[in-house]
Assembly symmetry: C2
Homo-oligomer: 327 residues x 2
């Protein structure tokens, strides 16, 4: 499956590899939230996943899928944060080692945490250095396996296990079979993985990627039918889901399985963070809150809605600001 | 079982009644938290329970255990907050109605939320009015069933379902059979219920109630072997677990099944809130954080430890303060 979309059987195989390792995160609901917004809102709380985001799922599946010799040589990843932590932990758990290439201006918390999880962090300057060149050199010198953050079928299959759980939990909770499923979307690994899982397990549900304003590459790609790129490379508080464009593997999957994208403002993401605090008792980072923001502020029907809250790795000052403005 | 301790069979019966209604809350763990503190720490996240605290479990079991005529007349409860919300929601879900007697100085958020859950809130002045008299009059006039917050076998059995889940989840997670289980303790409903469940399902575990300094009635009661009372009735930020003394039903259960109590400071509770934010991505109220505070700051062995995080109903300003001081 070198560069092909994973099949549903790849996702169920990933789920088997993750049993006893990944958290089966709860699908949360709050009667007071439903009352406030006049519809049933469910939140798949991937912020409670190991390392604070869904990224551990794909990383663990990718590291577990290497052959023993590859795993012994170690892995390498480029990431501004959440993928880094997922890869670092998965590598450590499985007796491998990880080199993580991070921009020098990544949030301090994410750099520190990645190191604490046992990874070797190599920092580069976004403006003057070419991360691909640095990564290629290190990979060659040490025989490292590159684990791409989204355009990797094993990673997509791992993220897709979130969708298997949603299908099951939605049934148990009596959620409408025609629910909307909103997913925080960067490169599309989580969105495409979930869309494959739900096409098999809950085919009437409608999956929509959600992006921050100004970084709506996937929404525009879906609307035009070809891969579009963002003008800006940074500048949203939703840093975890800012990517130049959807992937060569993830985009065709999303084009086949997803409805139109939804775009939310940074302010709406911050309001969703405050509401998740008040009503659901979970901590979301801005990029992990955009799907909930779309469920709350971009409603176009009365369907039950499931928002995937993809991560919670936010620094305290930014979280305090969200509570101060909207709490 | 009018005024007797519930049996393990009462707790499994309660679990059957709660299936599909209560959240099976996750047992969370964070590799970075373990690294910081040098032991394995697990958190049973009851802040993610419906209404933001474990109280829903006992309330739902108590309302479900009424006969249909009683349920039709409605229920009444005294509560400064979390029990109120649990009873209100359980009553509404089951086609009953709830009157909640609350002190007029209870946190605004809790009063508003209780009303939004459909309850009739009757406020009284702690200094000049007798809540028992008000409650007795209303109960008699309307034929309401009183649901006590902890000294009620049905309520204890409901809270004990948390312990059944802990026993199962601990096995799945490979937690030591001799783990310490620390429980935030007010009147002892949660602590005693969990202790019965674990005596049956994980008998080598050691259950300890945790209380805020100055309100350590249960700790002193266990140490002396008879029910002790706090001098102060209020004044801790851990308002959710401030009670005058352990219950007539809960105390003998705890005396049989629990190890010594642990007392933590308000500042330790606030530090635990900040750490739960950073490492676990959950929102805890001070009273819901004392068990985690004990696990972090009052360690007397290297055992695996399970802290029950009992609730997350905290106002934004107090949470911001915890992050500002300790985040």
């Amino acid at each position: 499956m070198a560069d092909q979309a994973p099949l549903i059987s790849d996702i169920t195989a990933a789920a088997d590899r993750l049993v006893g390792h990944a958290v089966r995160t709860p699908l949360l609901n709050a009667p007071l939230l439903d009352a406030d917004f006049g519809r049933r809102i469910f939140v798949k709380a991937e912020c409670l996943q190991k390392t604070g985001s869904f990224k551990y799922r794909g990383a663990r599946n990718a590291v577990a899928s290497l052959d023993p010799a590859e795993r012994a040589n170690g892995v390498i990843a480029f990431s501004s944060g959440n993928h880094a932590q997922g890869v670092a932990l998965a590598a450590r758990e499985m007796g491998s080692s990880a080199v993580i290439i991070m921009p020098a201006d990544a949030p301090e918390l994410k750099i520190v945490n990645t190191r604490m999880l046992g990874a070797e962090v190599v920092l580069y300057d976004r403006d003057t250095e070419d991360r691909d060149e640095i990564g290629a050199r290190l990979a060659q010198e040490r025989g490292l396996s590159l684990i791409k953050p989204f355009d990797n079928p094993r990673v997509i299959a791992g993220q897709g296990t979130t969708g298997l759980e949603i299908a099951l939990q939605a049934k148990q909770a009596g959620i409408s079979q025609a629910a909307d499923v909103l997913v925080c979307c960067g490169g599309g690994g989580l969105t495409s993985g979930i869309s494959i899982a739900l096409a098999a397990g809950a085919p009437e549900m409608s999956v929509h990627p959600v992006e921050p304003m100004g970084f709506d590459d996937t929404t525009r790609s879906l609307a035009t039918g070809s891969i579009q790129t963002n003008t800006l490379r940074s500048g949203s508080i939703c840093d975890a889901i800012v990517t130049p464009s959807p992937g060569k593997i993830t985009f065709p999957i999303m084009a086949s399985h997803c409805g139109p994208g939804i775009v939310v403002t940074d302010d709406e993401a911050m309001r969703a963070m405050a509401i998740a605090f008040t009503r659901l008792k979970i901590v979301l980072e801005p990029g992990g809150a955009v799907a909930l923001a779309a469920a709350l502020f971009h409603r176009d029907n009365d369907n039950d809605v499931i928002a995937v809250a993809s991560g919670g790795n936010v620094d305290a000052p930014l979280f305090r600001m969200a509570l101060e403005k909207h709490g």
